[in-house]
């Protein structure tokens, strides 16, 4: 609360108190759910989240073995392979988008930059949070932060720190939206001034931890099927995070446009086609670079030796079916300005990323193990529960803060500071879901 008072200088004390009361009342009102509660999505995701809570109870009471199928040979399963390794690649859209809008200053993408940052921020919060569920001794999670020995030669140490720092950077990038929501004009100015710094730090950190996720597997050389292992794994992960993130932006935009139709600004709706075509072009380009890299690695490693049998076919399915084909579709989408093609390509490209990340971390990991790891149904439920919880928070934020809609009037017109109570008036039209 102190920050709020600091940002309302020149006001007499009684007024400040009433301002604070108004803010509290506003926050209380905002916390209430809006729209119909018993929608199919709410019921299903609610049940999944409930089941997740129960499973996690078991997990902390009886150990990881009670709910997961992890083995001594497969210590990292679905929670790390999907939630962390794949989820973070999907969140890569945030660093690419802020690069386009804040560094290259391409105004075309400005209408979707905030929603992309929000998505990235929430992905990191929830997926890094899911990482804690997977820790055997989570009470020691603070050790690498407080310096109860820094394992400086560990790639995981680097990834952990970069996750934390990136979450702070993404929060700063998103913070002006929170300030606008609360109607805090001065705070917003301060936070906006920090955006470029946060953006630059965030992009640098993202480059390192996106590749770092691949570098985690460098020492697992004898354990990964050679088609999915090379010393270039970090670079492959970095390059593929560009089109993974942007494909997620396209898919998320497609869904948001329907679900949050009333929230979105006119600019957001009008610019949809131009944005999708532009993103298609960038996706196609980065996928081309990725395929080129894959080819170089393939030839350099003389990988054709491993192409016989099922693994070769599986490798071709991933790289031709879900990289080359969506790449071609993206090119068509760009040339023909066809948003529908772009959406199909995005779904295929995302599926390809899931395949790739799960192949490295689970499917092609220890292929000769005596007992192959297959995730338990409880691991799957928890994975879905984490995603559901993220969607709930995302929806809550989008329905309340200026994420998809135009900037608040006071930011442009510099009229007298509106009270917080005035702001939500224009939201009465909004229907949840």
């Amino acid at each position: 609360m102190t920050t709020i008072e600091q940002n309302l200088p020149g006001q007499a004390a009684p007024e400040a108190i009433s301002e604070r009361q108004r803010l509290l009342r506003f926050l209380r009102a905002e916390l209430k759910p809006r729209g119909p509660l018993l929608t199919p999505f709410n019921v299903i995701s609610g049940l999944v989240i409930l089941a997740t809570a129960v499973i996690l109870g078991f997990r902390f009471a009886y150990g990881l073995g009670a709910v997961s199928n992890l083995t001594q040979e497969q210590p990292w399963g679905l929670w790390k392979g999907f939630n962390v390794i794949t989820g973070v690649a999907f969140a890569g859209g945030a660093y690419v988008m802020v690069f386009l809008v804040h560094v290259l200053r391409l105004q075309r993408y400005r209408p979707i930059v905030r929603v992309t940052i929000l998505n990235g921020l929430l992905a990191y919060v929830f997926y890094a949070g899911a990482l804690v569920l997977d820790l055997g001794r989570p009470w020691n999670v603070i050790n690498p932060v407080i310096g109860n020995d820094f394992g400086l030669s560990s790639v995981l140490f680097l990834v952990a720190w970069h996750f934390m720092l990136y979450m702070i950077a993404a929060a700063v990038e998103f913070s002006p939206a929170v300030a606008e929501w609360l109607g805090m004009k001065r705070l917003r100015r301060i936070l906006s001034a920090m955006t470029l710094g946060a953006v630059i730090l965030g992009i640098s950190l993202s480059m390192l931890h996106q590749s770092g996720l691949g570098a985690l597997y460098l020492m697992a050389k004898p354990k990964i099927q050679p088609l999915w292992y090379s010393e270039f794994v970090p670079i492959q992960f970095l390059v593929s995070s560009v089109f993974a993130g942007l494909s997620m932006v396209i898919l998320e935009g497609t869904i948001s446009r329907r679900v949050f139709r009333a929230r979105a600004s006119a600019a957001y709706h009008f610019s949809q086609e131009r944005i999708l075509v532009g993103l298609s072009r960038i996706c196609a380009g980065s996928m081309f670079v990725y395929m080129f890299l894959q080819t170089v690695v393939f030839v350099h490693g003389r990988d054709w030796r491993y192409m016989g049998g099922g693994w070769g076919a599986w490798f071709l399915l991933e790289n031709l079916g879900f990289v080359a084909v969506p790449c071609a579709l993206y090119v068509l989408a760009w040339r023909r300005r066809n948003t529908r093609l772009a959406r199909i390509a995005s779904v295929m490209a995302l599926f390809g990323i899931v395949l790739n990340r799960l192949n490295v971390s689970v499917v092609a990991f220890m292929p000769h193990a005596a007992v192959r790891y297959v995730p338990s149904w409880m691991e799957v439920v928890v994975t879905l529960g984490v995603i559901s919880a993220q969607i709930w928070v995302f929806r809550w934020v989008v329905n309340r803060m200026p994420v998809l809609d135009a900037e608040p009037a006071w930011k442009r017109e510099r009229k007298e500071e509106p009270t917080a109570a005035e702001r939500p008036a224009d939201r009465l039209l909004v229907k949840e879901n």
Binding site: P75, L135, S153, V155, A215
Partner: protein, 301 residues
């Protein structure tokens, strides 16, 4: 070949050295923006001559005494008297068995004791983000519960698959052979070595063990396959093996590299400070250059 008294007394000094080095490392890293240079450090640690054990499989009778005294000494349930190919959370040392035709191996059987190899530059220790797994100057790679987060990255990294995790405990530990570090600190050899009735295990400084192994091969060239497993595997291990037959026939992972495993992440980690120092100014430069071309809030492209 037990260590001399004075050698063991010397060990206490390097511990403080290690801490000081660790402190400097932290300082250095803070300066370089969380950048790390593991290779030089690993090099320095490998320069010492740690303790090790030479396992001569041609002498092992498969009596399982080592597994029994190991379980006793570590407060673990008594093991079944059967051969196993892999360690577990309750059996940190196992004896594996292989059969061969009589003309290749006398008596037709080879027994191989298995436990943590205590690498000179352990993948597990370099993977650990809290140094819960630590290569001590004396030789053992030990696990420290007060540091461990239970992330299991050590298990993913170890080429021998030695760290085992207690999946069925709410307070799980990483379990693996600790080379009886408590006894080493008191000047005693590991329990398995002391109790081996066949004399198949020899304890000593690693350099001496390698000399001894070479001597045995030279003295009886027909009785040994001419290779010391662990001399170069994974960059060198504190536990060394001699055998009559090629090691891949005895279940030793044949795809293990001779380069040390931490070296595989070296290039990546060297890239970190480079990216963190070069990318931000580059981005700032691009941003400023674009801004002067196209003022913020100006006409959209």
């Amino acid at each position: 070949m037990t260590p001399r008294e004075d050698e063991l007394d010397d060990r206490r000094e390097p511990v403080t050295n290690c801490d000081r080095r660790g402190f400097l490392r932290v300082l250095g890293a803070a300066g370089a923006g969380l950048a790390l240079t593991p290779a030089a450090m690993a090099q320095a640690e490998a320069e010492g001559d740690p303790y090790g054990v030479l396992v001569d499989t041609t002498m092992c009778m498969g009596c399982q005494t080592c597994t029994k005294v190991c379980a006793e000494g570590h407060g673990l349930p008594a093991p079944e008297e059967v051969c196993r190919s892999d360690t577990t959370t309750t059996q940190l040392s196992v004896v594996d068995s292989y059969t061969f035709p009589e003309e290749r191996v006398e008596m037709g059987g080879v027994f191989v004791k298995r436990q943590c190899m205590h690498c000179l530059q352990p993948a597990c220790a370099s993977a650990c983000l809290t140094k819960a797994l630590l290569k001590t100057d004396e030789g053992p790679v030990v696990w420290r519960g007060s540091k461990c987060m239970g992330c299991r990255y050590c298990m993913l990294s170890c080429p021998f698959g030695m760290p085992k995790f207690e999946y069925d405990s709410p307070n799980p530990r990483i379990q693996k052979c600790d080379m009886c570090a408590d006894r080493l600190a008191e000047g005693q050899p590991p329990r398995c070595v002391e109790n081996c009735p066949a004399g198949a295990l020899t304890f000593g400084r690693r350099s001496e063990l390698i000399e001894e192994a070479h001597r045995r091969i030279a003295e009886a060239p027909d009785d040994y396959y001419h290779h010391i497993y662990g001399e170069r595997e994974a960059g060198g291990t504190s536990w060394l093996y001699l055998a009559k037959v090629p090691f891949e026939e005895l279940g030793f992972p044949k795809e293990v590299e001779t380069e040390s495993y931490p070296a595989m992440t070296k290039e990546f980690l060297y890239g970190v400070p480079v990216v963190l120092t070069l990318v931000p100014p580059l981005l700032l430069g691009i941003s400023k250059a674009v801004a002067s071309e196209r003022p913020e809030g100006g006409a959209a492209r």
